[in-house]
Amino acid sequence: MSILEGIRMAWLSLSGNKLRTFLTMLGVIIGVAAVIAMVSIGQGATSQVTSQVQSLGANLIVIAPSASAGVRFTVDDAATLAGRVPELAQVMPVITSPVTAQYGITNYSTTVQGVTENFPQVRDFPVAVGRFFNAADVSDAANVAVLGQTVATQLFKGVNPVGRSVSINGQPFNVIGVLTAKGGSLGQNQDDVVVIPVTTAERLVRTRYIAAIYAIPKSADLSAVAVGHLENVFQHKYQSDQAVTVLAQDQLLSTVNTVTMTLTLMLAAIAGISLLVGGIGIMNIMLVSVTERTREIGVRKALGARRRDVMQQFLVESVFLAGVGGIIGILLGVGGAKLITQLAGWATSVSVPSVLLAFVFATAVGVGFGMWPAVRAANLNPIDALRYE
């Protein structure tokens, strides 16, 4: 008997009991749809987090003192560091503080970042309108500010802020530029910021200490070397490897990727269990079907069906159930992922390998769980099968 005949026979038998066929498929449909939707959520989260980490700035190295270890940095420390670690191309001190910005009668709470003139290169964060402040502005501690997109929108509501004056914590600042929109990163809106010279920030928030030092290596290859060198410097200086945290962006990326990969695998495993349950559903129905059709099997054997003809018939049915269920599940899963993006606003990413994997897995479930019923059918003794009531 040819495969084509087998498929024709399977179709006749499955279409003869449409409700049961549909309910049996439902297990696989839900399983496959769940696998695809879950993996797409996981992968969507991964790619979102990855791009957010990358948006911090290419090859960024963050050097943060540990306050609990009593270590604090000043602007001068940042300058010294640039001399001691030759692998670094740029070093930038950062002072961060919450502030209130005011324009006209509008007040807006935001964060000020005091940095040096190399901020656009270090953070890979250029201005969209106007200009960034220069070295003279930094050494003069000039009252100039560059606004993030969110702050610009909130305060100026469509008016071009460049050339206008905002008050930050009561001090007047001349707006000289607006940054490009960067979006959120790791739960923070990077556009909700006012950037001013670090020297001005020292005065504004009345501090000598900076929150962190940002640096970038001369090339991406030097990142690991630079990190090692930095760690040596601080180890030597403070006699402790807990005093300063040195974190390169690629390390952060790999940590984040490990976490999200685990998340994706866990979601896929949970969804995979439902696919397994769907497979057991197929096996259950096929076993019932074999029992119900014992007489039919006897007739077919009397008419000359060989063992493998009978086996093929039942196997084709279960693979058909799983395969068609798999295809419907893929469509539902892809649609579900889109719906999740629309309704919940989560990033989802349906990848071709996950779709293929889900389909292959579903078909394998059909073969795996259809095998036992099929073997049982094939091994029936024709005389007993014909006599079966």
Partner: protein, 247 residues
Amino acid sequence: MGVANVINLSHVRKVYGQGDVQVLALQDVSLHVSQGEMVAIMGPSGSGKSTLMNVIGCLDRPTAGTYILGDRDVSTLADNDLARVRNREIGFVFQTFNLLPRLNALQNVELPLIYRGEPRSSRLRKATAALAMVGLGERMHHYPNQLSGGQQQRVAIARALVGEPSILLADEPTGNLDSRAGEEIMAIFQELNRQGITLVMVTHDERVARHCRRIIRMLDGRIVADDPVPEPIVASRHSVGGEVTSA
């Protein structure tokens, strides 16, 4: 005689079960049926006539003895070879028709040819011809539940014939039919036999058996009588190949 034996059973025994619960279904049965015969096997329940039919139909292997079908010893064949023999050499007609309910008449008749791997076009041609032969050319696309008992049995006969087997085996073929439909079936069998088909049937009904030319009687797993029928009843052929009685 010049006519070859189709069925040659020599000293066939069949034992079911093992150990203490052995049932001796056939003991030392020898039977020879030649080409073109029409034989009825009779006997009470448990006499072994169904077992004998199963052995002749290659659904079962004898425990001892030999069975030569045509010129081939089939008593020791493996399952798949037996399936092949059933497919090519034997046509079955059952008491309960045993048509597959989800297939229409034509698809039911096609089945043996499907298992033979015959291409679709020649399958359709042969199945159509077989259905026409039993007078159901008009009802090829009816499903079993749309056919009367007699018509279903005729579909089953067409299915048994479509593969041009060397013997036709019928197990109580009229057992589930009223006497009129039973008569039609016997008329078809007699017509087929006239055309040269070898036919062996099991029946309880003495009158049905007397349509055959030879009656074998069994008791307790043995053949106790094997007699020719001097004047077989000729079934009336009022509805065969022509009008159909009821739908």
